[in-house]
């Protein structure tokens, strides 16, 4: 048996969530995923995303990327607001709103000018949104909404695997791994992700089992629709999902874990 992971104290839960956000932020700095590193890029790539289009119509990403000090200001705004939200508990809701604003500006600008759109960033915003509310009741309602959103995206992903025929297509995951790791095959065949993937592609039965496990992990979130009792187990499943997809497929799913924190907060009954 593992200890009960649920957190009943709102302030403690918020601090842990912001702490995790700061850990991810440190990783972003290490990975050069900050505006100061992309400063001066000359062309943008909003793709089909309507929010990126509206942002470029307003013009702020194009102005920011041209000025180093603005890039620095936005990056510092994200880090500063997160640190303040962590320590200034009294004004946390205000700092969270500020953080969301800076983070939005940063991500839209960076992703457009890096031609790399990260889908899972949406999870961070949905997870942070409830913290902008001081009133306990509204906070709880927004948390509940965020939890439903988490359940929805995992279940829709499982459903797509089934409905699109990927799940029942023999050897499909082996093909996915080959396509996913074509760069590692050339550059770094000794890489752990490639070694795991190679073992799976050589034994397609295990690859199919691994894909089924992935599907079952996502599908297991259906339990969350009916009860909150399994939430901490779902959180553990989500951690396992993030780590294994990073190890096997080299996909960064740790943003999804930010939203996963909503599974751990269970307010005390009055």
């Amino acid at each position: 048996m593992i200890a009960n992971l649920s957190i009943h104290n709102r302030s403690r839960w918020e601090s842990l969530l912001i702490g995790y956000f700061l850990v991810l932020l440190a990783f972003r700095i290490y990975s050069s995923a900050m505006l100061v590193f992309a400063h001066g890029q000359t062309f943008h790539s909003p793709d089909l995303d309507y929010t990126f289009w509206f942002s470029h119509l307003l013009g702020f990403p194009d102005v920011i990327i041209r000025h180093y000090w603005l890039c620095l200001l936005v990056d510092a705004g994200v880090a500063g607001a997160a640190v303040m939200a962590l320590f200034d508990k009294k004004n946390r809701a205000v700092w969270m709103a500020t953080l969301m604003l800076f983070f939005f500006i940063q991500r839209i600008t960076l992703e457009s000018f890096s031609a790399s759109h990260t889908k899972s960033i949406a999870c961070i915003f949905v997870a942070l949104f409830p913290l902008c509310f001081r009133k306990e009741e509204r906070f709880a309602l927004m948390m509940e909404g965020a939890r439903y959103f988490l359940l929805f995206i995992l279940l829709i992903s499982a459903w797509n695997k089934w409905a699109n025929g990927a799940l029942l297509s023999e050897g499909n995951f082996a093909n996915m791994l080959i396509n996913q790791h074509s760069d590692l095959a050339v550059y770094a065949p000794q890489h752990i992700s490639y070694r795991i993937a190679q073992w799976l592609t050589e034994t397609p039965l295990f690859a199919d089992i691994a894909y089924w496990l992935l599907f079952l992990t996502q599908a297991s979130f259906i339990i969350g629709v009916f009860t909150r009792r399994a939430d901490q187990w779902l959180f553990i499943a989500l951690i396992a999902f993030a780590i294994t997809t990073y190890l096997v497929m080299r996909i960064y799913n740790f943003d999804l874990l930010v939203l996963g924190w909503v599974l751990l907060y269970i307010p005390k009954k009055k």
Partner: protein, 185 residues
């Protein structure tokens, strides 16, 4: 369960504004899911959920700095994506008649708007010739920061590979598609 306990009913009773916000969020989530368009902050998750085949051949973009091949997986995932994706956009623009690939989308999305607005939207969304022209210099600076050494030559090649027994084998000699030699200061 009694309707009074339903999430949306409780939300409606607490705040009409938040209720409307959540309702809009649900509506657009369903819409974008149906259309399979990713728009922030909605999440359309259908990657790795389709049947895939292994192509007979693939082409990789290889970066050579001072004659040495840059080991892409050694970079962070973000750096690798930034370099590859931006270069692919630039190369596409250079080889496909120097037109922004979003042009037909802009035309389609603004077709019902007055001409003045159509022109304004196109100006904001599409990249100009000048925007694209500045890219090589930016790429050079970006790579210099990652490489931690002065870059004398930057060469980008396309390397064709074939899958033979699920192993990648280089097919022919790589073809240089971009070259930049830094002038001595």
């Amino acid at each position: 369960m009694h309707p009074e306990k339903w999430y949306l009913v409780r939300l409606f009773k607490n705040s009409k504004v938040l209720f409307l916000l959540v309702l809009l969020f649900i509506f657009f989530q369903a819409y974008f899911n149906h259309k399979r368009i990713h728009t922030f902050p909605w999440f359309v998750w259908d990657m790795y959920s389709r049947t895939e085949t292994v192509p007979e051949t693939i082409t990789q973009t290889a970066f050579y700095i001072n004659g040495e091949r840059l080991n892409m997986p050694e970079l962070s995932i973000w750096e690798e994506a930034t370099i590859l994706h931006t270069f692919q956009r630039y190369y596409h623009w250079k080889t496909e008649g120097k037109a922004d690939p979003l042009q037909p989308v802009v035309e389609s999305r603004t077709r019902f708007l007055p001409k003045k607005i159509r022109v304004w939207v196109a100006e904001r969304i599409l990249n100009t010739h000048d925007d694209m022209k500045g890219y090589p210099q930016w790429l050079y600076h970006y790579l210099t920061r990652i490489y931690h050494q002065p870059i004398r030559t930057l060469e980008i090649k396309r390397v064709p590979y074939s899958y033979i027994n699920k192993q990648l084998k280089a097919e022919n000699q790589p073809v240089t598609i971009f070259k930049m030699v830094q002038k001595k200061q």
